[in-house]
Symmetry: C2
Subunit: 259 residues, 2 copies
């Protein structure tokens, strides 16, 4: 199956039927998104947290309370992602393929930009993307960079990492800076210890990738950040996607590129 | 008094002492902002309304409930703007120079981008700004362009208008497009009737300006839009700035320019 050539509707139907896979490289040219659904009484804090931390948490769309699709996502948010993480009192209590049994009427679904969206632009610019080459999930890490709190929500920034040959670092920065709604330019270049990452080989989410001689690790804001805030803040109930297992939307990635 | 040369703190102290004036042309190089303060229970709807209508309602900062200053605005939001509009049940019931008597503990203050911020960049690019030349307020109009509703809030987009010589229209678009956080590029060029404006000479807010032969009216999204939604939606209570009488922040306008 050439996953890059699938349409969003085709990909979503595979996931609805039970396929579980990270979505890096899927549906080339279409925007991918992070999902976080929280009870209505937490929605203001989450929207404000996103507004105050726009690099890690760029809001693409917000559903009405109880709605299971949005203008950007024509599928069913409870079934059409490859896998979900369910949180209770800030702890990840279940990892499910179908969220219908745990979904609640009072949930407000947030879709946040995902850096998978700019990976096609990186490839077209000649910047290799290691985890796509390897067919694995992108490595993601909790950092020592604090987010600006909002109401009951606080926590560290989560980043994704891609190793880039030194000569291509400027191209990688330039290309991704044109996509601020899907995390934009890197937040850190080089030494992972400077942002509190002890071991690149042991990501907090996703899979490790090889960093080869002559390559520099680049770190981008990651839409798992609000899930880290859910955990750090002991949020009573929330449903997110399993990191790297994204909502594939009906929006072309060009829509989020600067002119 | 050379109002362009004042610092934000100097300007705010003038307004605190009672000076009433539109702020176009004041504090060159500093970011100006729209104010709208709503009760906490309306804050989610307003933040979502802004997120869904980012051209007209770009959020620069949101205060904590009850706070009268924000990270962006070091002054006192109740006294340091030239004039305020008080709303009850969607109607403008008072226009005051000092909002301390009407401010409430449960208010959440939103600061939204204002197009006055990019006027210095227009002038530097050789694009004349008529209302600054005339020493008047910018003309603003209710349009027939609907905003995307959010919860209890809906209403029309409000625009500001600047007449620009035809040969300078591309420069005006190009320069302002680089400031998306203060409304960015125009939303309409030319015939006002196409966006529901019957008479350019009778703005809904601010002062009329002359449109000379060879000039084309350009229309930008305006941060009075959420005040129009307050009116259209019958919001029980809110405090805004008097249109054109802005909050002058402590942020340089370059901060909101794209690279």
């Amino acid at each position: 199956m050439d996953v890059a050539a699938l349409t969003p509707a085709e990909a979503r139907s595979r996931f609805r039927e039970g396929l579980r896979a990270p979505t890096a490289g899927w549906c080339r040219g279409w925007t991918q998104a992070n999902l976080l659904a929280v009870p209505r009484e937490l929605a203001y804090d989450l929207l404000l947290f996103a507004q105050r931390n726009p690099v890690a948490c760029p809001v693409l769309d917000v559903g009405d309370p109880g709605a299971v699709s949005t203008g950007l996502f024509g599928g069913d948010l409870r079934t059409d992602l490859p896998a979900y993480q369910v949180y209770e009192r800030g702890r990840a209590v279940a990892d499910v393929a179908d969220a219908r049994d745990v979904w609640r009427e009072d949930l407000v679904a947030f879709l946040l930009g995902c850096s998978f969206t700019f990976e096609d632009a990186l490839l077209r610019a000649g910047v290799p993307v290691r985890h796509i080459e390897a067919g694995t999930n992108v490595p993601m890490y909790l950092t020592s960079l604090p987010c600006r709190p909002a109401g009951s929500l606080s926590g560290p920034m989560v980043v994704s990492m891609r190793p880039v040959p030194a000569s291509l670092v400027p191209a990688a920065v330039r290309v991704t800076a044109r996509y601020p709604a899907v995390h934009g330019a890197p937040v850190h270049v080089g030494d992972p210890a400077e942002i509190g990452i002890a071991d690149l080989g042991a990501p907090d989410f996703g899979d490790p990738v090889e960093v080869r001689a002559g390559e520099i690790p680049l770190f981008w804001g990651c839409g798992v950040t609000p899930q880290a805030a859910v955990m750090a803040s002991g949020v009573p109930f929330a449903i997110g996607h399993l990191p790297g297992h994204m909502a594939i939307t009906d929006a072309r990635d060009d829509r989020f590129q600067l002119p």
